[in-house]
């Protein structure tokens, strides 16, 4: 095994998994760096959970190879893999108390560990997830957040190479979910174990991950750091999935330093092409994607020298720190604009001019 391979805890090479006639995982390849927080993001049915279950050994691939810490795991059953999973609804054993749940993995080890050693490590694991003193509780006596932390302790006590998390926050309420996001990220830094996280919630993925793989129809559409994905999405799908975007469709008329797109109404828009985007060629169908917070609004007549698109505010949604404006323009259609609430002061029906810097948009292939 070469050294370069072992820098990655998980590697997929052209992995395929089919269920009946559905290709849940359609020939994907990726590498997960040691000690990173890696997320699979996508809507349900995109293959993210299947990928996780392939790592855990709960599914066998129909093609391709999977490596954990540089070793092919084709012949290794789930109970011999150095990975542990936090299941979606925790899957705590209902006939065992918290301590016995957490110590389950240690009790399976051969040669057997001494009971004192198991007790001590269970105590440490519960302290790690701030559940000291809960040893004798039953799982149904715990809140969702506490069950979540028992599941984490039960997995981490085995000191796995990789910890797999299958939408672990999905069953929690919003406030608790936010707290657990921070807690999970902190925990990951503390223990230094590679976390592989599956979610359909882009906010969750963005706030915790070092790297994210955006999936669709069994394939990885784009893989990168949260900022890369946000600022340089490769196509309309990623731009729409990660954060919000306005999409103005048209046809590519010129590809140079910037890309020029002509809308059906003949408006010319100029925008940079995404760095890693699929190549845009002339006459290709494209969209110009503009983030709502990159658009500015002026009251009509106060626009100064700037040129923009005239329109009318159709709806105002106050979000607290920000306010959302829906603007109907003649030239580029409907626009969603997000302004910091302090600068706002527009009402429904106001005539406005929407504008954005030419570098704020992004020309992407329309699919």
């Amino acid at each position: 095994m070469t050294q370069s391979v072992v820098d990655f805890d998980i590697e997929f090479r052209n992995v395929v998994k089919t269920f009946g006639s559905v290709r849940a995982v359609n020939g994907i390849s990726f590498q997960i760096p040691k000690g990173s927080f890696y997320s699979f993001l996508g809507p349900s049915g995109c293959g993210k959970t299947s990928s996780l279950r392939l790592i855990g050994g709960f599914e066998q691939p129909d093609g391709g190879e999977i490596y954990i810490a540089g070793e092919s795991v084709a012949q290794i059953p789930s109970y011999q893999r150095h990975v542990n999973m936090v299941f979606q609804y925790y899957a705590l054993f209902p006939h065992m108390n918290v301590a016995r749940n957490v110590g389950y993995g240690l009790r399976q080890q051969r040669p057997k560990l001494l009971p004192d050693e198991i007790d001590k490590r269970v105590k440490d694991a519960l302290a790690l997830v701030r559940l000291s003193g809960y040893e004798n509780r039953r799982s149904w006596e715990l809140s969702g957040g506490q069950q979540q932390r028992v599941a984490l302790a039960r997995a981490l006590i085995n000191k796995p190479t990789v910890l797999l998390l299958d939408e672990p926050l999905a069953a929690l309420d919003r406030k608790l979910r936010k707290d657990m996001q921070i807690e999970l990220k902190t925990l990951q830094r503390e223990v230094g174990i590679t976390f592989v996280f599956v979610t359909h919630d882009q906010e969750e993925a963005l706030s915790m991950s070092d790297r994210i793989a955006v999936m669709r129809d069994g394939k990885i559409v784009q893989e990168g750091s949260p900022t890369e994905l946000y600022n340089h999405p490769v196509d309309r799908y990623v731009a729409g999935f990660i954060g919000q975007s306005n999409f103005i469709p048209g046809e590519v008329v010129e590809v140079g330093e910037r890309v020029t797109v002509r809308t059906p109404l003949g408006v010319m828009l100029s925008a940079p092409g995404s760095k890693d985007a699929k190549p845009l060629v002339e006459k290709a169908k494209a969209v110009v994607a503009v983030r709502p917070e990159r658009i500015g609004l002026w009251r009509e007549g106060e626009a100064g020298g700037q040129s923009g698109f005239k329109g009318r505010v159709s709806q105002v949604t106050f979000l607290g720190d920000q306010t959302e404006y829906h603007v109907e323009t003649e030239e580029v259609g409907h626009l969603l604009v997000k302004l910091s609430s302090g600068n706002a002061g527009f009402g429904g029906g106001d005539s406005v001019v929407a504008y954005w810097n030419q570098t704020a948009g992004l020309a992407l292939l329309d699919d």
Binding site: Y79, Y89, F93, Q108, W140, A155
Partner: protein, 290 residues
């Protein structure tokens, strides 16, 4: 008291009346009569003569054989039911396809559409000297084999008739088992065998206990199987009672035997309730008898 609460009370009383009357007439009253009789004396011509004596209870040891037979063969029957039903229920709940499931469930239930009596009579023919023993002798495997009227025949009849009562509670508890728990167990390093004994089996315990109780409690009152397949040689308590009440017409002694049987059942059911409550909050509501 307001009119409306009075009305609700009246409705409640009316709704409960038929069932209460039923239980009073057919359960409580007979039980009281049996209790009174058990302290009485046998009238010279048979039946009951008023008295207050513990004589009948002191005579109980003379009828210990039917009690031992009942407890021993009911335990054996329950044991074999578990041995046969567990793999079947496990297969039904975890492995069988939907189609296979309905076929198997039908195969288990359909025999029950035939009378219990007829099915047991059929076994008499099968086990008699012209049945299985004749075939085995023809094949030269055994000689002078007697199957009918033996404890074996009774146990066979018990297992044959009571198997579904064991299978279905087990099936229900295994079916409800969250498959992710099995994955979690394997994820944490337990192989199939370890997962079965540490997760599957303990979580099927409520079904196992319920099935065992169903079979065992009903067997305590069993009369037909020993009468037909035991040929009147191996008495259960039920057969002893029929004998005492109808043949010797010793009603007080029969009553004392009944009371003893009731007492044993009470102990077993208390044990069952204690066991299920110990198994914890969740299992208890799922597949409990009482």
């Amino acid at each position: 008291m307001t009119v409306s609460t009075r009305k609700t009370k009246l409705t409640t009383a009316l709704l409960l009346a038929p069932a209460s009357l039923w239980y009073l007439l057919l359960l409580v009253a007979p039980l009281v009569i049996v209790t009174i009789f058990s302290f009485g004396e046998r009238a010279p011509e048979g039946g009951y003569a008023a008295a207050f004596t513990f004589e009948q209870y002191l005579k109980l040891p003379t009828r210990s054989t039917p009690f031992i037979n009942t407890l021993w063969l009911a335990s054996l029957g329950t044991f074999f039911c578990i041995i046969l039903a567990y793999p079947l229920a496990y297969y039904l709940a975890t492995r069988a396809s939907a189609q296979m499931k309905s076929i198997l469930v039908a195969l288990i239930i359909v025999p029950f559409w035939t009378s219990f009596l007829i099915r047991t009579y059929a076994w008499i023919t099968i086990l008699s000297s012209r049945g299985i023993p004749a075939i085995l002798e023809r094949l030269g495997l055994v000689q002078d084999l007697v199957l009918l009227n033996t404890p074996f025949a009774i146990t066979l009849g018990i297992v044959y008739n009571y198997l579904p009562l064991m299978t279905f509670p087990l099936y229900v508890s295994l079916e409800r088992l969250d498959k992710r728990l099995l994955e979690a167990s394997k994820d944490l390093g337990a192989n199939r065998w370890g997962t079965f004994w540490q997760v599957t089996f303990p979580l099927s315990a409520p079904g196992l206990i319920t099935g065992s109780m169903l079979v065992f409690i009903l067997l305590m009152g069993e009369y037909l199987i020993p009468a037909l397949l035991g040929g009147g040689k191996i008495f259960f308590v039920g057969n002893a009672l029929v004998d005492l009440f109808l043949q010797s017409r010793n009603w007080p002694f029969g009553s004392a035997v009944s009371m003893a049987l009731n007492f044993i059942m009470l102990v077993i059911i208390s044990l069952y309730l204690w066991l299920t409550s110990r198994l914890g909050g969740e299992g208890r509501e799922e597949v409990s008898l009482f």
